[in-house]
């Protein structure tokens, strides 16, 4: 069975500083990878996804993630964070044939002014 590990439950960072949110997965088969963001009292919004092809994927709001098969990682990065990026970030995997996504426990990104 697949699993997702987000080692950092909270990541505090100053505004305009860079940030990396770590995600590692475990699976014996190929996976599709996703990052979702959850703002307070809201549902999940898809931030970006890796399906195939280029291992570096980008979102429209400046986030990027790189798929590293050898390290089974899909870390999320942003070169300069804004106060509006304060949210909970979830990494998720999906394997073909499964119906549900498997999520990590989430990382709370805290932006300090």
């Amino acid at each position: 069975a697949q699993s997702v590990t987000q080692l950092d439950s909270q990541v505090p960072v100053f505004e305009e500083a860079p940030v990396e949110l770590r995600c590692n997965y475990s699976s014996s088969v190929s996976v599709y990878l996703f990052w979702y963001v959850q703002y307070p009292n809201q549902g999940l919004q898809l931030l970006l996804k890796y399906l195939s092809g280029s291992t570096l994927v980008e979102s429209i709001n400046g986030f990027e993630a790189e798929f590293n098969k050898s390290q089974t990682s899909f870390h999320l990065r942003k070169p300069s964070v804004h106060i509006s990026d304060t949210a909970e970030y979830f990494c998720a995997v999906w394997i073909g044939g499964a119906d549900g996504l498997t999520f990590g426990k989430g990382t709370h990104l805290i932006i300090q002014p």
């Binding site: 997702v4 987000q6 599709y32 996703f34 979702y36 809201q42 549902g43 999940l44 919004q45 898809l46 996804k49 399906l51 979830f90 998720a92 999906w94 499964a98 119906d99 549900g100 996504l101 498997t102 999520f103 990590g104 426990k105 989430g106």
Partner: protein, 114 residues
């Protein structure tokens, strides 16, 4: 284009009661999945409905059941509520032929069991 909608927004029940949560998928989607998100945790997959039938199921007891209607909307029913059922229940919709299960989530229903 309306996204995924869920009702009600909040719900308070007592132990032993039964609850029904509702979900309307995003336009063009035919598949609905349900997740339970306990406080401070990531969402956990309950089950998925496609063509009005339950497909795979996560590690949840039979107290959790569901239904999908011909218009693709879905209900989640939980019987004999326990305190531990308190959580945010998320509905997600997708298109079965997309091939990679990209799921769009609704805002959730916050269930509190007293």
């Amino acid at each position: 284009d309306a996204g995924v909608t869920q009702s009600p927004t909040h719900l308070i029940k007592t132990r032993g009661q039964q609850v029904t949560l509702r979900c309307s998928p995003k336009s063009g989607h035919d598949t609905v999945s349900w997740y339970q998100q306990a406080l401070g945790q990531g969402p956990q997959f309950i089950f998925q409905y496609y063509e009005e039938e339950e497909r795979q199921r996560g590690n949840f007891p039979d107290r959790f059941s569901g239904h999908q209607f011909p218009n693709y909307s879905s209900e989640l029913n939980v019987n004999a509520l326990l305190l531990g059922d308190s959580a945010l229940y998320l509905c997600a919709s997708s298109w079965a032929r997309s091939g990679y299960n990209e799921q769009f989530f609704g805002p959730g229903t916050r269930l509190t069991v007293l």
